[in-house]
Each structure stands twice: as structure tokens, then as C-alpha cells.
């Protein structure tokens, strides 16, 4: 239950935060959620990771699908040096996931260090 709640809460709050704040506010969100909801460090990492992976993948997937991947083709060549929109989405999702994951891990350790 905590596992699912953490994922949902991290994803929702990250989405809300990024409406107004810089992208790295996802780290702050993941950190706070992990500090509030007690989970083992490994699980805290995993829930934050999954939350942002799903959130960012879904967001760019929907934006790009409506765009027929016109942009993603070009940007994938620019950034990952190959024409692969879905790999670019995966890279995007991984960036969010990793940052959130480590922030969640930190949050969990903070709680435990008290």
C-alpha cells in the first residue's frame, strides 16, 4: 500500500511542481515523499524511480504521439545520435527516474537517521 501511495504521490506532486518550478523540483518532491512515508531505502528509491519513469515517459509519449513524433525524430538524432523516438523517451524517463530515485533514497535515509 505504501509502495503504491508513494508512487502515486510522487508522480502527482512532481507533475504539479513542474507546472511552476524548474524540472529539478522533482528531486525535492521525491525527497519529501520518501521522508514522510516510511519505507526501506531500497523501496524508497524504487518507488520514486518508478513514479518519475512512468510520469515522464507517459508525458513525452502523449506529446510526441500527437506530434506524430516529428520532433522526437529530430531531437533523438541530436541528443542520442540515432533516429529513435522511443529511445529518446526512455532516456528522458530515465533522467527523471534517476534524479527522483536518489532523492527518494536520500529522503528515506534522512528519516532513518533521526
Amino acid at each position: 500500500m505504501k509502495f503504491l501511495t508513494s508512487i502515486l504521490l510522487t508522480a502527482l506532486l512532481s507533475f504539479a511542481a513542474c507546472l511552476y518550478l524548474p524540472w529539478w523540483s522533482i528531486a525535492v518532491v521525491a525527497f519529501i515523499v520518501a521522508a514522510l512515508i516510511p519505507q526501506k531505502p531500497g523501496k524508497a528509491f524504487l518507488t520514486a524511480f518508478i513514479a518519475l519513469f512512468i510520469l515522464w515517459f507517459a508525458l513525452c509519449f502523449f506529446l510526441s504521439s500527437a506530434n506524430n513524433n516529428v520532433l522526437a525524430h529530430k531531437v533523438s538524432i541530436l541528443i542520442i545520435k540515432m533516429d529513435n523516438p522511443y529511445l529518446l523517451m526512455t532516456v528522458t524517463a530515465l533522467i527523471g527516474a534517476l534524479v527522483a530515485g536518489f532523492a527518494g533514497l536520500s529522503g528515506s535515509y534522512l528519516r532513518r537517521s533521526k
Binding site: 507546472l19 529539478w24 500527437a66 516529428v70 520532433l71 541530436l78 541528443i79 534522512l110 537517521s113
Partner: protein, 816 residues
């Protein structure tokens, strides 16, 4: 105790964010760029994007409507001039903000703020060319009349109205990738954009430095042969036989010109590092009613410029109660630049005239504070240029301004210098520095009702020299070569001139009414394609970098064509006839010694024997000709030109062709580096054998088809920095000397055909799309049509047609 793992994981998080938010480790801040809520994914425009909007701005005076047709061309209907240019500025910014920002920053010499230290030399050269100085002088003229100033202000306000409401997540993609922000628009940026055009079209049309070095190698009579003022094969814009009036000004050659100037053999090291492409040319022509099927004139224009995505052009219709005009606009400037209204149509090609001269300056000392002029030390104005560099410290440069203009080359800067020790202080005298308001020409052309209006509109146009072609619904056709052109004595300005007194300065300008022009000729057509405008009987000395072949090819067709339709004109704009090859290939085939050729070499010779002289995409003959002819020219000239380490002008292909046709015993054929005497047979045969080694290499690496060698391409403005954003290697032919002048990333940047029938029938296409957003389907949607030679009908919309099914979106503007 979990403090230690906490510190490790927290540090990892902070580290990750820092790396992903900056360019410390990565070439771009990937977290910032890729996050879906404000990064580049936000630029992925929906395929069903709804462009409808209701907008209100306090700057507007009344209401206005913008109707976008299915190609995203806006048809703007406003109640007055100021509102229409406000909206033009707004739409330019909405669809093309990055290019406006980039181009004007580059014009001013601020590219390093975007590109970092690799652009410092470019910026120095722009500043030493006096680009900002030119724009400042222009701005004074543009803002002199309050009415005119209000129009530029309205345009600027429109651009800024868009920028102001832009949040970072909506920045054009390039800003995100480069991690920079848009800069507010000002009227001087409009002036800078027009000066960018002036540089593009009139800062590479002289060869003073290359010519100066040529004097060191060749004798005066040789110079006249190798670099002729009037080519034998020239077909001028103003037909031969036209009688010119006596000149109002007869400039006097200084008494010491021979000793100080013509016979001065001093070399020069300096070389412009960013000289504009010589293929910045264009075609325009107009056929009168006597030659068309409809009985009304047809006007055609295709300006050849660097092709880019987004395109330099943006298509618009601008309608007010006093003006209804359609055509290609230049994002960064108000008005339609090439187009038509309800009464007439106009187009432009480049005059190619030399309007920039170099004067040698003697400074008192290294401080450059004083220079010797008319027997005394004069104070120069020192302009300290600060070049801000992205990711580095500012670079400072001091440019001295003299009575002639800025000292472009001196001890601290000589461009792409050659290995020559003659470092000379060179000031430039360039017409683009003179106060002028070129934009108002277009304001007036947009409203021209007849020939007189057209003439009045273009009279004030000073730089760059343009061939304004014109046709009206009343049946008039005309062309004026228009600019402020110096009146020179014969030979003036071909080489660096002495700058220690006023004796070599320009003595005046050719009166406007003596500029080459033609109206309603009996033969029923007028054309210009960057050739010399007049034959040798024109009473002024007019050097330039003229391009001869396209004009000849256009004349070749138009002379015999009759009952012309717009479709015929489309075919002519896309024509691939290689007239130069047709002239020289018989000579090549006559003198090539086939006994010396192996079977494999003969195979390549067959391509050219069977060739129809068309440089189309799949032509192999064109490739063989191109490589062979280039090698033959090198065989003839390289040994002579390489006598000097300095940068020397290469004789034009046209001149070499003429020389060989006239004299197959031409003395320059002999290679001065060998003991034996080479003949034309040796030259033609040896160069063919050299060509075959190159051709065999092409054959082995993809094929001989001309499209694969010519590589017609449209690159993103940031070129190789943006792979994936360009359209390289299109299936097109062409070349600089072909009517369809596509070569590499150069070519027809806008093709327009206007038939001035009672209801105007117009067609156009450019290699790009209306949206500058690479994430939009409108980014490059015209490119295929352009490559295939297809056109779109240009719809001069009537306000009553607002419910037409072609209208896909509407933006309503109102005061508020």
C-alpha cells in the same frame, strides 16, 4: 547511524541535478532540455494544432483579423498601417523568433554570445566591417520622418508583444538547446537585418585585395585579358545598341595614378575570412502581353541565397484600406520584399556592382589615434568593441574610423591572412555605411499602383544594388538597376588605393536617372541574372563580380518563346540547361587526344559525348563535364597564380571559356613549371585523365549522378550543430551557372510567378515551411514541392472569403 548513506545519496542527487542542469559535463543541460513539462518536448506541436486565438493589445488602434490558410500563410486584415505592421512583427516573432534574433546578433558581431569562442573571428570581422555603424546611420534616416518611425515602432512593438508573453517553456527549441534567452526587439535590429542583406549582396562583389595581388603577377595587358570588364559573350540586361546619354559626371583620374596605383606591385596579406558567397545571385524576368497567351504580363523572380531552415522568407498577405499586398517577407523587417499587389508585381536580383573600395592608411603610431591625410595628422575615431563570449571572458577590439570609413585590416587583424608579410592598414569605403532607408522603398512598392509609383519607390534605394523588375496590370514592364553607385574613373577601385590624401576618393555618384534601365522594349521581355547590366558603351566605369551564363540561358529561351503561360515560366525557372558547357564542350572534344585514353577513360568520355547539356539530378554528363572543366581551368591557371603566395583572383569560368574559344594557343596553357611547352591538346587530355581518377572515385562511392555531387541541401541555421534538423542531399540538379541555380546549400530561396491578368494568377514556393519550429509539421513541408519544381497557388484573399474552407484558423486582434 544512517547519516553516512544519507550524505552519499544526497550528494549523488545534487550531483546529478547539477550535471543535468548545466553544461559542466554534458554538451547540453539534458534534464532541463528533456523534461517533458518545459523542455523540448513542449515544442512538439500537435499535428492538429489549433492556431485560433483572440488577442488584445493596448498598442493597437483598431481591430484586425489574421486568417491562416491550409499552408499556414497568414492573410492579415487591419484597419491601418501601424496595426498591420504590429501584427506582422507579432507573427514574425511567433513563427520565426530565433532566426530574427540570431541573424541580427550575427550581423552586429555578437555571434560569440550564442556560439562561444569559435565565433570570435566572425564577430571581429563584422565589427571591423562597420556593420553596427552602418545600421546606426541607417536608423537615423529610418526615424527621421515621424510617420515612418511610427511604422518601425509598430513592428518592433509587435515583436516584443509576442516576446513579453513568452514563458521559458514556450521558447523556440533552439533557445532551449543553446541554453540562451530571447532578446527584445528594437528598431536598430531591423536596420541590422537590412545591413545583413547589404553585406550578403554588396560586400563580396569587389575583388580589390585579390586584384592587388594579381597586379604583382600579371602585366597590365594580361590583366585586361584575364579579368575583362566586359565579357565578349555578355548579354546585358539593357540590350546592346541602346544609346546612353552623355554622363553628368566625368571623374578625373589622378595624375599620379599610374605610379602610385596601377603600377604599384605591393602585395597584401589581408583576406576577408567571411566573404559572402559569390553565388548570392538571382534571376528575374518579365514577359510583356505581346508574348503571353493571356495578353497580360507575367513577372518571375527567384532570388538565390543560402538556403536554410527556417527559410529567410516568410509568406504573407497584408491588407489595409490603402494597401493589399502578397509575397515574401523578411522576418525582422516590416513590409513585403518581393511580391505583388492588386495593380502590379515586382522582384529583385543582385546588381553585383562593386560599391566597396579599400584605401591604404598610414597611422602615426600603433595607437591608431592619428592618420596622415592631406598633409597633416588627422584624428581617427576609435571605436572600442567589446565582444561578449558565451562561457568565457569578453574580447576587446579597437577599430579606427577614418574619413573613408573603418580600418578593417591592420596590424591586429588581417582576416584569413595568406602567407605574405605585407600587413597594410586598410580602410574601407562602402556605400552600405552611408545613411539611407532601404525599407521605405518596400513600403512604397507595396502600395505602387503604376510605373511612376514604382520608380518613385525605388529611387531612394541605396545599397545593396538591386535590379528591380516590374510589371503592371496596365501592361507596363520595366527594369531599373538601382543603388547609389560611385562614379569612377576607368580602373578606380579595382585595387587598393592610396589613402594619404583625397585624390583617390570617389568624386561623386552616378545620378539616379542615369542608372541602367529599360521600359516596354519592342522585343517584349526583360531579364536580369547578375550579369553586367550594360555593354561597353555605358558611359561609366562599373566594375563588379558579374555572372554571365544564366542571363544568356534565359535570353536563349525567352527570345523564341511566345504565347507564354505561367506553366511555361515554371518550367523555365526549373530549367537545367548548361549554356557554358554547350559552348566549351565542342572544344574539349576536339582537342582531347583519344589515342592516349584507355578503355576505362573512354567510357567516361562517352558520357559527355552523349550528353544533352542538361544539369539535371541524374545527369552523368554534367558530372564528367564539371570535373573535367574544373581540372582544365586548374591546369591553365594554377601554375601562373601560384607564382605568388598571396591570394589572387581566379579568372572566371566564363572568361576562360571565351579565351579558349578565341585562341587555342593561349600562352597561359603552358605550364611554366615544366621544361616542355604544353599545348591545348596536352591541357585538355591531361586534365581529362586527372578528372577520370576523381570520377572513378565518385563511381565507386555512390555514383556519378549529378545530384550526388552537387548535393542540393537545405540546412538548419545552426548547420552541423543541429543534425537531424536539415534536409540534405535532395534529388535536384543545378549549379550556379544554371537557371535553376541550386548548388550545395545555395539556390532559389523563393520562386515566384505572377501573371497580371485582371484577376491576378500567382504561384510560389520556397524550400522551407511557414513555421520555424522544428517540431511543427509546417517546418519543412514545402521542401519536397520545391525540389520537384512544383508550386503553390498564391491566394490573394478577399475579406469576404473568410469562411472559405481553405481557412484553417483565425486570430482576432483587438485594442485593449
Amino acid at each position: 547511524m544512517k547519516l553516512f548513506p544519507f550524505i552519499i545519496s544526497a550528494a549523488t542527487t545534487v550531483g546529478l541535478v547539477t550535471v543535468l542542469n548545466s553544461t559542466l559535463v554534458l554538451p547540453a543541460p539534458l534534464g532541463k532540455i528533456l523534461n517533458p513539462q518545459s523542455g523540448v518536448w513542449q515544442n512538439a506541436e500537435s499535428a492538429n494544432e489549433n492556431f485560433n486565438a483572440n488577442l488584445s493589445f493596448p498598442n493597437l488602434k483598431g481591430n484586425a483579423n489574421v486568417y491562416f490558410d491550409e499552408r499556414l500563410v497568414p492573410h492579415v486584415f487591419a484597419e491601418n498601417d501601424e496595426d498591420i505592421y504590429f501584427i506582422q512583427g507579432y507573427l514574425h516573432a511567433k513563427f520565426r523568433l530565433f532566426q530574427m534574433d540570431l541573424q541580427t546578433k550575427a550581423a552586429e558581431g555578437r555571434a560569440s554570445e550564442i556560439a562561444g569562442s569559435k565565433a570570435i573571428q566572425f564577430d571581429r570581422e563584422q565589427r571591423r566591417l562597420g556593420m553596427r555603424y552602418a545600421a546606426e546611420n541607417s536608423l537615423i534616416e529610418m526615424e527621421k520622418e515621424p510617420k515612418q518611425k511610427a511604422l518601425f515602432n509598430a513592428y518592433t512593438n509587435g515583436v516584443n508583444a509576442y516576446i513579453e508573453k513568452l514563458s521559458p517553456k514556450n521558447y523556440p527549441l533552439e533557445y532551449k538547446v543553446l541554453n540562451i534567452e530571447p532578446e527584445k526587439w528594437t528598431n536598430i535590429r531591423t536596420a541590422l537585418l537590412l545591413k545583413m542583406m547589404a553585406k550578403m549582396l554588396s560586400s563580396g562583389t569587389e575583388a580589390d585585395l585579390e586584384g592587388t595581388n594579381a597586379k604583382n603577377i600579371f602585366m597590365p595587358d594580361e590583366l585586361k585579358v584575364i579579368y575583362p570588364q566586359v565579357n565578349d559573350s555578355l548579354v546585358p540586361m539593357i540590350p546592346k545598341g541602346t544609346v546612353f546619354e552623355n554622363p553628368a559626371i566625368v571623374p578625373i583620374k589622378p595624375a599620379n595614378a599610374d605610379s602610385l596605383y596601377f603600377n604599384n606591385q605591393k602585395l597584401v596579406a589581408a583576406k576577408q575570412a567571411y566573404k559572402p558567397n559569390i553565388n548570392n545571385g538571382s534571376n528575374n524576368w518579365v514577359v510583356g502581353g505581346s508574348k503571353t497567351q493571356s495578353g497580360s504580363p507575367i513577372l518571375c523572380n527567384d532570388p538565390h541565397l543560402e538556403l536554410s531552415l527556417p527559410s529567410i522568407w516568410y509568406e504573407m498577405q497584408l491588407n489595409t484600406p490603402t494597401c493589399n499586398v502578397y509575397g515574401a517577407t523578411l522576418p525582422g523587417s516590416p513590409f513585403v520584399i518581393i511580391g505583388f499587389n492588386d495593380s502590379c508585381a515586382w522582384g529583385v536580383t543582385n546588381a553585383q556592382r562593386d560599391v566597396k573600395d579599400y584605401y591604404e592608411i598610414k597611422f602615426k603610431d600603433a595607437s591608431k589615434k592619428e592618420y596622415w591625410f592631406n598633409n597633416q595628422w588627422q584624428a581617427s575615431k576609435l571605436r572600442i568593441e567589446e565582444i561578449k563570449v558565451k562561457g568565457g571572458a569578453s574580447v576587446f577590439d579597437t577599430v579606427a574610423y577614418t574619413i573613408f570609413g573603418p580600418v578593417m585590416f591592420d596590424a591586429s587583424y588581417n582576416g584569413m591572412a595568406t602567407n605574405v608579410s605585407e600587413n597594410r592598414n586598410l580602410a574601407i569605403r562602402w556605400v552600405a555605411h552611408d545613411p539611407s532607408d532601404e525599407a521605405s522603398t518596400f513600403y512604397n512598392l507595396n502600395r505602387a499602383k503604376n510605373y511612376d509609383d514604382y520608380l518613385n519607390a525605388i529611387k531612394s534605394f541605396q545599397c545593396p544594388g538591386q535590379n528591380f523588375i516590374f510589371a503592371s496590370k496596365t501592361g507596363d514592364i520595366a527594369l531599373w538597376q538601382q543603388a547609389k553607385f560611385p562614379a569612377r574613373w576607368s580602373g578606380q577601385g579595382l585595387y587598393i588605393m592610396p589613402g594619404q590624401d583625397s585624390s583617390f576618393m570617389w568624386q561623386g555618384f552616378i545620378p539616379q536617372n542615369e542608372n541602367p534601365h529599360i521600359k516596354n522594349p519592342d522585343r517584349g521581355f526583360i531579364e536580369s541574372a547578375n550579369q553586367r547590366p550594360v555593354d561597353s558603351t555605358y558611359p561609366y566605369f562599373i566594375p563588379g563580380q558579374y555572372l554571365i551564363p544564366r542571363g544568356r540561358a534565359i535570353e536563349h529561351y525567352l527570345t523564341t518563346m511566345n504565347s507564354i503561360t505561367p506553366k511555361d515560366m515554371m518550367e523555365l525557372q526549373n530549367n537545367y540547361y548548361n549554356i557554358t558547357a554547350n559552348n566549351i564542350v565542342p572544344t574539349l572534344l576536339k582537342y582531347v587526344n583519344e589515342n592516349e585514353l584507355g578503355e576505362n577513360e573512354k567510357k567516361y568520355l562517352d558520357y559527355i559525348k552523349l550528353w544533352n547539356f542538361m544539369a539535371n539530378a541524374d545527369s552523368k554528363g554534367q558530372t564528367v563535364y564539371n570535373v573535367w572543366w574544373k581540372n582544365l581551368q586548374q591546369f591553365i591557371w594554377d601554375d601562373d597564380l601560384k607564382k605568388s603566395k598571396a591570394n589572387v583572383a581566379y579568372p572566371t569560368s566564363q572568361t576562360t571559356m571565351e579565351l579558349l574559344k578565341k585562341d587555342t594557343a593561349l600562352k597561359f596553357i603552358d605550364n611554366i613549371g615544366t621544361p616542355q611547352k604544353e599545348t591545348i591538346v596536352d591541357a585538355v587530355t591531361t586534365s581529362f585523365k586527372t578528372a577520370v581518377t576523381i570520377l572513378a572515385n565518385y563511381d565507386a562511392n555512390g555514383g556519378l549522378e549529378w545530384s550526388k555531387i552537387n548535393k542540393g541541401s537545405v540546412y538548419h541555421l545552426l548547420k552541423t550543430n543541429m543534425p537531424g534538423f536539415s534536409r540534405p542531399n535532395l534529388n535536384v540538379g543545378g549549379n550556379g551557372d544554371i537557371i535553376n541555380a541550386i548548388h550545395d546549400s545555395h539556390g532559389p530561396s523563393w520562386r515566384m510567378i505572377v501573371s497580371l491578368t485582371q484577376k491576378t494568377e500567382a504561384y510560389g514556393v520556397y524550400p522551407g515551411g511557414q513555421s520555424g519550429n522544428p517540431g511543427s509539421k509546417y517546418y519543412d513541408d514545402y521542401v519536397n514541392n520545391w525540389a520537384e519544381g512544383k508550386y503553390f497557388p498564391l491566394w490573394m484573399m478577399n475579406k469576404a472569403e473568410a469562411t472559405d474552407k481553405k481557412i484553417m484558423a483565425t486570430i482576432n486582434f483587438k485594442k485593449g
